[in-house]
Symmetry: C2
């Protein structure tokens, strides 16, 4: 079975969610080999070591990549447009040239069935595969089309399968930065808007109900499928639940029905990660591997 | 950490549910040592081998015990009162004399947090610890009190921690059989009614919201706790969910909210059990261990 190359890009505030996400991947694809790439800026060494220890324990490769500040010298960066928002679109430039494909996941996703079918999806000449949230009304899609001047669906950027070679050929860093500079003030969800405005017609549509299920929209999915996509169907078929939007299952008062599954995974992750630290043969950690910085392309590459 | 001695008593139709239950125990108590005892009558050898292989893979001891027919020579046995209904109450007579304590679980339970706190509960001179379902109305409890002539709560027999030595001293096989014979026709849930009528005042009450949560009664629990026992609280604190009643989450049309968690565990169990068969070093199985029958007390004891 092929190794899945997994990409996350986040800061240390999302470490708990990353633990939940990785736990869910591990439990739902028990035989799957995974190589994890973490794009970050000043992630604490202790946290990287934790992730490294866990990855070793479960047999995953782990490559933390500290993105160099110099990459953003000419980028419009502000509180509203932090540099992290560019990471996933610049990932093809940042990741090692030898990588051909990567699956990007937001840290508010939960994997509840094997990732393999998604990983093996034929990209058929597209830059990305991504899903539009069909639970939203047509009106919302039309507003986004007009707002961004596109004629395709408004794709969610939380789950993206990327053809890295094609991206390297077609995505120009300066074009990204110019777009943001020229549309400052108009972008609602900056990275997602940029994705759709610049590359919307280069995206292979994925079935959101399978690979980017908006966890708030159970009733819409059920209705649009004439009752087929009930809870049992979702548990059996959906691969990635996406807890998008302002309400989050790790915060108090989350009301949507799949929150309990996320909250159960928080418990599972807590126990599984805690036990890693007591594994014989995992510790002592190789601190150099987790924290030292070798040289990759324009970024620091610690492996 | 002490080994938890776990007891199940079921026929082969419940093998899928046993797999789910064991998977849930393994994932939620990753470091816990467990010895599993299965009381059965003519469980197929192939199924015993499957359980044996899985137990070896995860480090559990497994003791299938075929209960001898001769034990029921003088028992009232019929379609309505199958011999299996006596298994949990006769377990103290059937299990090896060296065992002091066992935790019985129904196959429609799901363990979602560590069992250790329950296992270590001081039985304080009682025969059993068990929970009454507090989500039921007082009226139901009073009807059961009158019906069975007891003055205690009506305890659910799906989760029972047993002091085996005290049970061996106080539970008489003939008394059980006589009670069933004399009350034939009045018993609604035979084994549970017998437990309550004969031993209701020898049971230490457990908190059902923690150890025998009736998965149908979310709203009652929430109401009785003034909103404390919300979904997040249940995921963090409840140890055993009990999918009791006629509706079952493994059947079509289950409507209650924790069904999705059970259905997710069905997927997890499917993958984890399937992979056991490909584990190096687990196969070939020791067929003698799983199927041969040594001599235990009045029953056949294959270990």
């Amino acid at each position: 079975m092929d190794t899945i190359h997994l990409l996350v890009a986040l800061d240390q505030r999302y470490l708990p969610q990353l633990k939940v996400l990785l736990t869910s991947i591990r439990l739902n694809s028990p035989k799957q080999r995974v190589a994890l790439y973490l794009l970050h800026n000043r992630f604490p060494c202790a946290a990287l070591r934790q992730i490294d220890a866990w990855c070793r324990a479960v047999g995953y490769d782990f490559s933390p990549i500290q993105v160099e500040d110099s990459l953003f010298e000419h980028a419009p960066v502000s509180e509203q447009y932090p540099r992290e928002m560019y990471y996933r679109l610049l990932a093809p430039q940042i990741l090692p040239d030898s990588m051909e494909r990567v699956l990007y996941l937001d840290p508010d996703t939960l994997v509840i069935n094997p990732l393999q079918t998604l990983w093996e999806r034929n990209l058929d000449g597209h830059l990305f595969a991504a899903a539009a949230h069909t639970g939203k009304t047509e009106l919302v899609h039309n507003v986004n089309r007009i707002r961004l001047g596109t004629d395709c669906d408004y794709f969610n950027s939380g789950v993206m399968l990327m053809d890295l070679n094609r991206c390297r050929a077609e995505i120009q860093t300066e074009e990204l930065f110019r777009f943001v500079r020229e549309h400052a003030g108009e972008l609602v969800l900056p990275d997602q808007d940029v994705l759709n405005a610049l590359y919307g017609n280069r995206i292979l549509p994925l079935e959101d109900v399978l690979f980017n299920y908006d966890a708030r929209d159970y009733s819409s999915y059920l209705l649009q499928s004439s009752g087929l996509y009930n809870v049992k169907w979702v548990m059996e078929h959906t691969v990635i639940l996406h807890f998008c939007g302002r309400a989050k299952p790790w915060k108090a008062g989350y009301m949507y029905r799949f929150g309990l599954l996320y909250q159960h995974y928080e418990q599972l992750a807590g126990r599984i990660w805690e036990n890693v630290n007591s594994f014989e043969g995992v510790l002592p950690l190789n601190e150099e591997r987790a924290c030292a910085c070798g040289k990759g392309k324009s970024t620091e590459n610690p492996i």
